[in-house]
Symmetry: D2
Subunit: 387 residues, 4 copies
């Protein structure tokens, strides 16, 4: 324990569901990464809810709480602003943080539209702070392994893929209106909420998008107001997006995001076919990456060719892995790995797999192209803004 660890103070904005997830992540980091070069301090919280401020102070142990996130920006004991607000606030929070010289970790999607995203990514570049997005699925061991295999050439030239992120939570027409169902608050529906994740993953694995053809659909067009079931409010975002995409590497794919996929829980999945191999993954079976090596002999009687469930389980590169590589993991674990990636990269000069604001901008550009395609019914090139 003679190691010197750098203390990193966290200021978290928004202590709703995802703010609690991130907070729990910070508290458990010392177990998963016992020898990490940093030490986290829960310095401050900003939330408009008194109850949440109290929970943050007395359950989680934050040192300071305020209604106003700007107060966090002024504090010297805060190094990183973690933005867990509704999408609408991502920009003002992030800009304030960066202007105050804080590093920033932001929930996805980066913003409500390309304009906001561009402003954020540009300021990140100008200020030189670390700007990261919680595209935490990059940190599923199976996804990390998939990226390695693709980079090693194990798939060869990629021809075709299909990917989807499927939820069923909005299938009930009586689920009340919320900020995720209002374009003004969220920027978009399934495309923004779930689509941003799966788009980021496919770009993480296969590189940039060239063009998209998309369809956005709202099946349940109005919903009761929260707390007032008789009042019906108009839903102005999509329940479902289906896309055809062409990547810069010339592969063709279909991508889908749905909040009304009956029978699914949290089903993010992809299948990628190359001329040398293939991989498939499903987040509801997160412990395995399925890999097919087409160069293996198929004779006699099948030889050794077939889809292999690589036991990625909790095989993170860090060693020792806590609580052990063989134990099945779940959704919380990728958040923790994503937060570790951010924090370690603040201290050490190390490669980071985490998404940056620039990555967030690129996804925003793809989503904008999808929206435009859905309006026009035709293929739309993804426009790339210069930072």
């Amino acid at each position: 324990m003679s190691t010197v660890r750098k203390e990193i103070g966290i200021g978290l904005v928004g202590y709703g569901f995802i703010g609690k997830v991130h907070t729990m992540g910070y508290l458990t980091l010392p177990f998963y990464y016992e020898n990490a070069p940093y030490k986290v301090k829960l310095s401050g919280i900003a939330s408009r809810s008194e109850d949440n401020r109290n929970r943050a102070l007395f359950q989680a142990g934050y040192n300071f709480a305020s209604e106003d996130y700007l107060e966090l920006m002024e504090r010297n004991d805060i190094d990183v602003i973690d933005c867990c607000t509704p999408n609408k606030l991502h920009k003002p929070v992030a800009l304030a943080a960066m202007k105050a010289g804080k590093h920033i970790y932001c929930e996805k999607p980066l913003a409500r539209n390309v304009e906001e995203a561009l402003e954020m990514a540009r300021l990140a570049k100008e200020t030189g702070v670390k700007s990261k997005l919680a595209f935490h699925y990059r940190f599923v061991p199976a996804v990390m392994r998939a990226k390695q295999l693709i980079e090693e050439g194990a798939l060869g030239e990629v021809f075709n893929f299909r990917a989807a992120y499927l939820h069923s939570g909005y299938i009930d027409p009586n689920r009340p209106m919320s900020w995720r169902l209002l374009k003004e608050e969220s920027g978009g529906g399934a495309l923004f909420d779930l689509g941003s994740h799966i788009l980021d993953l496919m770009r993480f694995l296969l590189g940039d998008f060239e063009e998209v053809q998309a369809n956005l659909e709202t099946f349940i067009k109005e919903r009761p107001a929260a707390g007032n079931p008789t009042q019906k409010l108009k839903v102005d975002v999509d329940d479902l997006v289906i896309m055809q995409v062409r990547m810069k590497n010339n592969s063709l794919g279909t991508i889908e995001a749905s909040r009304v996929a009956t029978g699914t829980n949290d089903e993010l999945r992809f299948e990628i076919h190359g001329n040398r191999g293939a991989i498939t993954f499903d987040l509801m079976e997160p412990n395995w990456l399925k890999f097919y090596d087409a160069t293996e002999p198929g004779k006699p009687i099948g030889g050794r060719r077939g889809f292999k469930k690589i036991e990625t389980v909790q095989r993170y590169p860090e060693e020792p892995v806590f609580p052990g590589p063989k134990f099945a993991i779940g959704w919380i674990r990728y958040h923790i790995a994503s937060q570790h990636d951010l924090l370690a990269s603040l201290v050490e000069d190390r490669a980071s797999l985490g998404a940056t604001f620039e990555d967030g901008l690129r996804i925003q550009e793809v989503m904008a192209a999808a929206e435009k395609s859905a309006e026009t019914g035709s293929w739309i090139k993804v426009e790339r803004n210069i930072l």
Copy 2:
């Protein structure tokens, strides 16, 4: 055995791979359907290959063989012409058969284009013969059960689906040229060969297509001539088609057919989400239909809600089922059930699940719309020809 069974004489055209499959089907029908109201007679075969004619005569037991399929049309002992030729010959064979008053069972797709298909379907209507297509996947027990569940309303309103038929057989660029790779012979590539099957299934389950948006891709653009590897021939059909479709019932779906999907064998699959339930199926696990009933209670601790692998195994409606409902079945079995459906419908006044020439025409219209969309990049309404 005092039952009177009607003898039905078969004249089969084309004794290649699929002709042999059908022939084996006819020979095994008396076992699977012991009490069927018909008795099959292998009356005649037409093939240009002497070797195949001899095999048909001496291995399978056909009574008559000819190089010229027209000779079959003249024979009184033939009731049904079974057309197992390359696509190019479907029209001339079927027209000749129908003109001769024969019933017709034709391999898929119906023809090379809508014009051919329309002529065939119209003649079928005029002559009143039974005209059927070997869309045999309708006869997988799991598919039959899926249709029942949808018709019972078990899925409720269908929102969204995805379907694919994936092969990998053409991934090797050294696989030589063949009729399936020439538009003149086949009418099309993956779209025609595999796509016609999956399109028929989705129409069988969900009703007619309204519009499509499609992309056709040829990854391997030339291939060696058969028997002359140094000669390279141009491939003028698709290896892959990906489509977005909107059905008349307003559901949105993605449909894909590929001959270059590394890692797959014979993977026809679909997933359909409605607001009351969902179903999924994969032909490489043919013994089960997965069904999710969203109306079941989900509490406590999951209640009884979840995807159920309905054990459709060999649960055909006919009883007794041979060799027994519990035994795993495979690809051959659906052909046999499809042939039984045809033959029984010739003898008994019974509903038939088998596809007709009109069904074949409808699929041809969808494929034509897909081709047009692939050219223009935009959504194309499926044009419906009047019979």
Copy 3:
């Protein structure tokens, strides 16, 4: 077609369910094995049922039928006697056949007890005829591949295994009495009917048994008489057997056979763990052998280590494979491969994977040890009779 094929005449005894299965197998052999060195002739059938004799003659095309199986023994056009009777008749039929110089293909288990089996195996040895058993699961491609992998040393030293054959058909206490539930007719219950199969497979894969410890259980102790539901008859065979076994190779395993395993259809499965690898198989997913190679690197992030679903599908060693290696197969297919193995071995000097009467005797000895152990509650060495 200038190939000379040897004609082999079949005389089949017992045209019930399994007799029909074998017959259908003979009829389809020319399709699956187009270039086989033999030609099958359905020469004669013996059955006590007039209806079955008629079906055999007029549906299947046997040339001759008799009530008395001894008549088959006298016919010169019969080379092979295929015994599809209840177990009680295996011995008299097989002895008569062998004495008449016929080859013999017998359904499993070989006999009702070791004494009968020994007499049969000894006569087979004396007469030198080919004597085979329908342990057709040896001919599942996945099982054939498993055997190869074990012989190649891919599992290393085998430590432990578990195997089971699970049916649920007798769970209903109203299922009436039949010969399979009477020791006098069958020799035993789940142990004989299903256990013989799984015991044969484990011996096929792992070699001889050293000792066993077994428990036999009859859960449903009486059943209604067939055709007279009010009359209750005593069941004197087991519904379930569970065994611990030690093989001569020192591996330890559990083996189970059940007719009352709710939720199963035809679930024969095994898992074998060695110090270099492991394999698992389930007959309800017959197209895949799962193989784990422990010598593959497990780093980084899982490396390439994991269970692989080797796509054994229809990858029989014979080529070309009909109807093609990629098509899912089912239960009927292994019978056909087993029958081909027998017939080809009659004509060609080739290795045969099929079980012999001696193999059948060895399984009978294991079953006898299991019965003795169930009585005494202790481990029993498997006694090996000298032929």
Copy 4:
């Protein structure tokens, strides 16, 4: 936040791997159970390792640390002693705790033998403290649901089951000696380490054991000393146990525990067949309980009968569930639920699913019977000690 929560002070003994797991559990409880009626205080730690004491103090935030666990017993701010030591110390730690009036939460198995366990369970009864064991697999949602289904009668009369807990971590003969491989330290090998878990689960689900027949096997009989590879030490515990068991409810089962099951990670699984239904579970797919309802109609074409993957995911009875019921969970989660069960039961008068010292004693009695059976080769009745 006006709720009054009772503060519960934890004193943890042994800050190795499992001590850290428990500690992380305590820290995250306020997130998973936001409205719990207790508040945890990490009061004290005892560990012989200075490094671990420092980690506990400075990473986890314990208030006090000592080399000597007896110091914890004297502190007033400690309500619960959590014993995470090697098995050998369970008895002295637990006795000291109970004598000091502390509640006790102990890692499994309860002790090294029945004598120790009996003394512990008796003192628990005498003192009336809460005495619990970390049989945390009881708190997998799928297991909790399985228990409910069995209690509801959804399986009917249970006939047969099979259960196993399979690890592969000791397959490498070069893995060095450790306390888990020494009977003096651990009490036993796979039987004690893994077997205790699976035995507890089967008893949790099916009730008490009547008799067992067991085999213990040590495949790797010596191992290198830790830190001195050339020194070989004798392993005196089992790598593998296979058992046949008869429960008091008359069901028959096989139970297995292995540390050398190549190809497995953390594979605890069970299958239970009753005359009305069946359930299966596998810890490496922890989000689902598979349930088969044999009373559902099987017609037509399979009806609605089949194994259903009940989506137990994170469907704990407590609501709201954090971070949400749809998110896949892993191994850590069951520990947290087990700890919550203990702490809530200290504060509220509520039923607890957690195992008590008496439950631990019953498992110890089964393990003792298994050891005796392994020596004698025969069935051994499980002796039940009176508390």
